[in-house]
Assembly symmetry: C2
Homo-oligomer: 348 residues x 2
Amino acid sequence: MKNSNILAVDAMGGDFGPSVVVPGALAAAQKCGAKVILVGIESAIQDVLDTLPENLKQADFSILHASQVVEMNEKPSDILRQKKDSSIQVACRLVKEGEAQAVISAGHSGACVACGMFIIGRIPGVERPCLATIMPSKTTPRLILDVGANVECKPYYLFQFGLMGSAFVRDILGYENPKVGILSIGEEEGKGTSTVKEAYDLLKAANNLNFVGNVEGRDIFIGDVDVVVCDGFVGNVALKLSEGLALSLIDILKEELLGNGFMPKIGAFLAKKAFKSLKKKIDYAEYGGAPLLGLQGISFVCHGSSNARAIENAVLMANTYIEKDTHNRLLAILKENEELTSFARSSV
Amino acid sequence: MKNSNILAVDAMGGDFGPSVVVPGALAAAQKCGAKVILVGIESAIQDVLDTLPENLKQADFSILHASQVVEMNEKPSDILRQKKDSSIQVACRLVKEGEAQAVISAGHSGACVACGMFIIGRIPGVERPCLATIMPSKTTPRLILDVGANVECKPYYLFQFGLMGSAFVRDILGYENPKVGILSIGEEEGKGTSTVKEAYDLLKAANNLNFVGNVEGRDIFIGDVDVVVCDGFVGNVALKLSEGLALSLIDILKEELLGNGFMPKIGAFLAKKAFKSLKKKIDYAEYGGAPLLGLQGISFVCHGSSNARAIENAVLMANTYIEKDTHNRLLAILKENEELTSFARSSV
């Protein structure tokens, strides 16, 4: 089931670098039949390859040497100027030049956004690409965007986030007529900041969009919504808060349940199993990567603490994105709403 | 242990009205020795009183008839103009006129804010009162403010929220030198919106404030911080998201643990106990009310779905607020930072 897709993977990215990226990328390549280009310091990649089982190395891959590594404390603008031979820049150039269709990185997310914008380039008419994250819920997973690429947003940015999010979940999560909501502080129309209210009006007027109006914080997990639109400040707070709260609740409950040792052995065993299953349900690694939407190429940004499975799932998702031609679906819905966007842009 | 404090309680507020407010308020009065004035439709209050045990009615209380009731879908401005004899307005006037020191309401929170601002009035120099909520965490509870009174904030509003929050938790939660952080999307100075960055500079320069810099979403639950400052939009999203996520996680885990019936009986019993204990730990009713800080009097706003225990705890907290003279501590820290505030206000 080999296919012709070529995916550029930033092998140096993330807290664990090549040691998790290389096996994750190869596992994905083997599963989906795409070719991966491992971009980074060749010797470091080779060292990891030497430790991997032979069958994993049957995957279709190549190594592209990139001499520089991005540190987490560097500024995106400095990285752009001074790290032209970093793995993330080289990988993005592969996409720009058509030698790969997608880039996947668990590195410095600010650098991923900057390299996406300035190397791969934006879709004409899209002023700000955004980072979208799939959030688990009790029922179906939902997409929240933006989660950090744009701290301050104009109404038509939010409008375009909604359009692009809708196109994405349709293909990638398979929702036929995805419900798109805008995050606010009350369900009624007219609630929220002036930016949210203007974006509301645009989303309501959009073509080919199933806009369901305002949603509240609680709806991110329990509401009847598939795509939640917000600015990158609110989205980033929401994302990190969710991580913190989930970990903290699980910790408290584990202590309550298991800490005292009173739980009978079989009960404790079942409790541990339940926690494991819950963790799997809310584990970001299940979805692996956050798409950077609005670029002329495909880019997925992974959590810095990604494990091999998260990388694998991100690479698989990038492959699906290509297979389903999601990029063209995205272009189509943006085009269908071009006039409305221009109007909103000119009235800012 | 009778004291001379008089607390006005909006008996008609909340989803359950007098049926929970009256017993909650009386229980608190009995515990702390304050007098409560039950404000609302006299016959409705009397009906509830008739059902209560005699010993609860030993509490020091009186009834003040107010003929109008506020509906949840009314606009705060309409309530101010058209519902002059509503329980919330009458209760706020008692505070304004010095006949009570505090008002406690589980009613329409927008109306509570509006009546607080326009009837009780703001502390001179405070442009926007804010709503502060105590959030539980794995370790110590923390205060987050604003959680909805101000959707759009100027930097010096956020600055004053930090000052007032610090004064509040010092007395009410007993933190000697409370750590105040501002919610942003990165720990480093310079992260966040322009408003957050300007507020950061003000908080950093503040007198008598233990400012710890930026905190992130996850820190609300697991960070080393006592007071988290944010605008009312972000705070409201964070609050509701936390409620939704907590409920949803508990639901999922309950299903995993108990749904299949495989858990041995004693294990299931212990699991149920653990859930109960967790719920208590994260239950808003433990703290009862959210103080509306920045007014010339004391006002606590309770969750609409408050039960009698939440009302009781809110009334007790209002009593503590008076006992500890928190209002003067608040005035003091505002005064100590008056010049900085004026400077920030003039440079907007």
